[in-house]
Symmetry: D2
Subunit: 354 residues, 4 copies
């Protein structure tokens, strides 16, 4: 192994997000995955669960999530565990001096009160919340350099924030009346079978879920309020559709004044001009962002439409929920934290047709 390579452990490696981390890290030029944990599959080869990875990771098997082994063998830890479970690991790994990229929601919110409201638990480490960096490079690139605890954003939150950022930053919309109508594929619910996601029930569905307010709204409000320097309220209404991967945020808002589309376009371009993974879709086919054309990649396709007679704007962001919405974004933040090129391991193109 090259001396330049970081020895990475993936804690919680048998789910979809863990599998994506393994896919992206397999050919990452500065990474060697030395540990992949899964209680359920201890001793099984990686491809026992991740059939796509057959033939890769020939010398790795799933193992227990032992802190001792982490201490001995790992330079960086990615945690891909359920909400509430990461809490048990993060402080221990940080104590070893090992940087953590946590893909759960456990360290995303700055205000501990919000954990009670949105997640139903009292946060045991309010100090760590302060130290954690919200891992959205488009907002926190500088803070990510040398970050020790990266709280990787939620998928719907990523799409929601990035769709609205240019409008909120330049304060051209009413910040109190925003509805983010999200449409997501079935992989967002994870790899555990359920009646709701049983194929005969899920395929062909167009089904609202948590329409009384999705918890990712908390992250979106937190981040956009920082950008705006004032409170921003968003309603987030997700819908399950029958894609497997992909999330589209359609963020509906009202412009405070009449603005030509070209003026709005300038705000988008100004905001995202130097972003390696953001592509603006404006008056070229297919017209508006569609997650279908980012699947498998870390891209975010962003665009908007206005209805002038009502001063209504809808801003769209399309992502692969498992890549820019999870594992890819985590790798991007990791690259920044480690001082690597931001695109290392992420130069993967979407398929078409996909």
């Amino acid at each position: 192994m090259s001396k330049l390579k970081k020895r990475v452990c993936v804690i919680g490696a048998s789910g979809y997000t863990g599998g994506e981390l393994l896919r992206l890290l397999a050919y990452h030029p500065y990474v060697e995955v030395v540990m992949a944990t899964s209680r359920e599959y201890v001793g099984k080869p990686i491809h026992y669960v991740h059939f796509n990875l057959r033939g890769v990771y020939r010398n790795l098997k799933f193992s227990e999530a032992s802190i001792d082994v982490v201490a001995k063998n790992c330079d960086v830890a990615f945690l891909s565990l359920p909400h509430g479970v990461s809490l048990n690991y993060v402080p221990k790994v940080l104590e070893l001096g090992i940087p953590v990229v946590d893909l759960s929601a456990d360290f995303r919110l700055k205000n501990p009160e919000l954990y009670k409201i949105w997640y139903g638990y009292e946060h045991p480490y309010p100090d760590l919340l302060k130290k954690a960096v919200y891992g959205l490079p488009e907002l926190h690139r500088e803070e990510l350099r040398n970050a020790k605890l990266i709280a990787s954003p939620g998928c719907n939150a990523t799409a929601g924030i990035l769709s609205l950022l240019p409008l909120v930053k330049h304060k051209v919309i009413d910040l109190s009346k925003i509805v983010i109508d999200v449409k997501v594929g079935s992989s967002e619910a994870g790899s555990k079978p359920s009646i709701a996601d049983h194929h005969p029930e899920r395929e062909g569905t167009i089904r609202p879920y948590e329409p009384e307010g999705h918890r990712h709204a908390a992250e979106v409000e937190q981040e956009l309020s920082i950008v705006a320097g004032q409170g921003v309220s968003v309603s987030m209404v997700p819908h399950a559709v029958s894609s497997i991967r992909g999330a589209l945020a359609s963020s509906h808002a009202w412009l405070l004044q009449e603005l030509e589309d070209l003026e709005l376009l300038k705000l988008y371009v100004a905001t995202y001009r130097n972003e390696p993974f953001i592509r603006i879709v404006y008056k070229v086919p297919p017209g508006y962002p569609d997650p279908k054309y980012v699947i498998g990649s870390n891209y975010v396709d962003i665009g908007f439409a206005t209805e002038k007679r009502l001063r209504r704007i809808t801003s769209f962001a399309a992502i692969d929920n498992l890549v820019k919405g999870a594992a890819g974004q985590a790798v991007q933040a990791f690259n920044i934290a480690m001082g690597f090129e931001e695109t290392a391991g992420l130069q993967i193109l979407p398929l078409k047709p996909a």
Copy 2:
């Protein structure tokens, strides 16, 4: 043939809506289909196009749309023609004294000016617009009795109006800030192949279309403004998803005052209690309306969710775009106009799984 049966002609019978009319009318107890027109398939059996109907309509072939034959053989005409084409037939059929159920948009709007704005043509028969009855039984049941010209509503308009009716009728929402975010299946685009609906491009898509303002908004505003007795503004933003059939309207609005969900529920129940095809979904599985569970039927499943902290309400209506959104609604209106039971020919249950 029973003397009670109406001899029905379907003009424009080779598309998806025409096919649905043929499916629903095949076993309608008071109907005999005597004519089905299609320029492209003249002389071919019905199942040449509508494979599902193999073995039915053994004595019927596609024919030219001859007004003379209509005059001689038909008691009622259903027109399932493209927008702008119905215009050429409706006046001629009406002159014969034959009632018309028109499934195009050509006679839906009362104000001829709106045809210029939304459809790009000058309407040649403004007088007929006055005589036409907008064929939504839930709003115009009385006018439909003995109606001579029924303008059957658009699919997205049907879902949009029915989702909002209880809220607009009781004026509990801000009538100037409504966004109807619609998700629709591919059959809505019709039976003509296109790149956008080519299977490899359409399957898995989550794609905004006409997000600058969908033309069905005109119908929705017209009908809801009548209900409200004041102007109602709606933004309609449709999205293509990968279902085949089905449309879900997620109508986002702001409550004017705090209302408990049970108070809101009462408004829905009061509005729809006697409607044979409306089913209210409230706190029973699957929680909210999903078009998947109305496919093939004339049902509309309706429900809502509120986010109290923001006074945001989202009201949902789920339909099969080809049934309650087109052919089924046309048959329902026809039944009323003819004095038949409203459910005749429409007692068809959705499938599960579908």
Copy 3:
């Protein structure tokens, strides 16, 4: 209730097959469903599980499968239970003098030895196997009249047998070298969630299952051997594809002598001419049977293709696995047994598009 109506109980009513029985029996002119059992959902309304049936069965709730209640209230029992569980109910219900339509595999095979080989259990009621009538009307219509125990065929078996019947009956193929390559939708695996049928895993799949020999081969061999008057060997190789409903049997065989397609067609027509649910697809669109166009109905679409240079024939049968492959066929057999029109309750047309 009309005196002509049979009081029907559906034992095992919460799965997909049970739901289909309830859908088909809801508007059956000679049936009233008086009991629907489900251990898991006792006391819940029918639409709690079968969302499609909301608004129907307003006075029925799921109940325990009590033999006493069956004895008191039911004229006929449909059993839609897992293999091996029906065994426990059938003898008890028959003792009450109540006819049984059993949708499990427990009484399909005549030879008790085959239960050991294919199902792994010793059959406790070999005498009942003799009395049971294999519920395929196309083969056993006469025996079904007044039958007391109907063993309703398996879905893949139905498609397999009906695809091959004309060829086996007329002995035009090599009866020792037949491969039935079946493609089936996800509903065939039932309503219980599993990793294999979790939406992200199942959608887009083309996956062989039980390719070492599917157990429905036993039924197919039994029935075709009777028809042939000699042993017939079939290999059945099913594949899971990403449809929800539908099964296509592609039965590959070798013709014993050169035969023109028109001669073969005559065999098909002769075999099926009077069958109310069989439709032959020959040189009309879409060319060959496709389950897509029978979904929701009791139809079987049948066709064939020959490759002359190799004397290879492939015979196709397309069904909805939950209708002609399960509940619809059970109702058809029940109609015959009760002396009703064979199509009663089954005059339901497939959708297109579906």
Copy 4:
């Protein structure tokens, strides 16, 4: 540009196969794409058609297929043109001394007579047929080194040949009775819209096509007969299913003698042990090959199942029809011809879920 890089032109770059070539060559370490032709889209940027490639190929636009420009700027030409059209370009490019990788069927068959039978035209360049190398590395690796004309195999042929190779090579099956039952996704039919592949018609379909003998059988018989040293007859029966990408060949055959599965496995391993893109699936999840888990990659997953009582074997090969079935295989053969690592540009992992 590195001096080591080959300047590549893609002639016929706007279809699905052309798009895949552009995707795979974009990050190929030894390639620069200098020309991408499309009559329809001359002057448009690449992402105008290939939305997935937005942000890549910033300096390339579609151009006319000018032989002069090819002569001046290209080191190697990939031709992704319809059958019968490649014929017009291949000789001209070869005359320039520029190697050609042709993805059409125009140079795959050695016997010109077969073009009349299977493709319906008289082949104008029988001499070139002799020079062309059939571009399946697993069979012709040595001949591919320095090949000037590579005839890249058909997708179904690739799956068919690779599924059968171990059995034919070791002559353990009856070579006269083989049925390759293929299931394929919609991308195989290309990017041109058609009624058959219109989303509402294609999604959910299980539809035989060309079941009287698919033309790829000619390639399969040619290649397997060379391997066997005797005539091999195969029937190829494809079925359209509702995947987008992916082809599974289920090759049904009869073993000449009893063989244990482990003996058979040895034949597979012996045949494919050193192949960089072949993965054998045997008694590990998911049990048998499924194209779902190779999508986007150049992998072929291969496995088999036997039914001992009948001596029937089914051998499976799963590919992405656009990668190992087209563009990926072409790049693999190109790598060999140029002396590059065989996997250059092809180290792309499939997704799961995909």
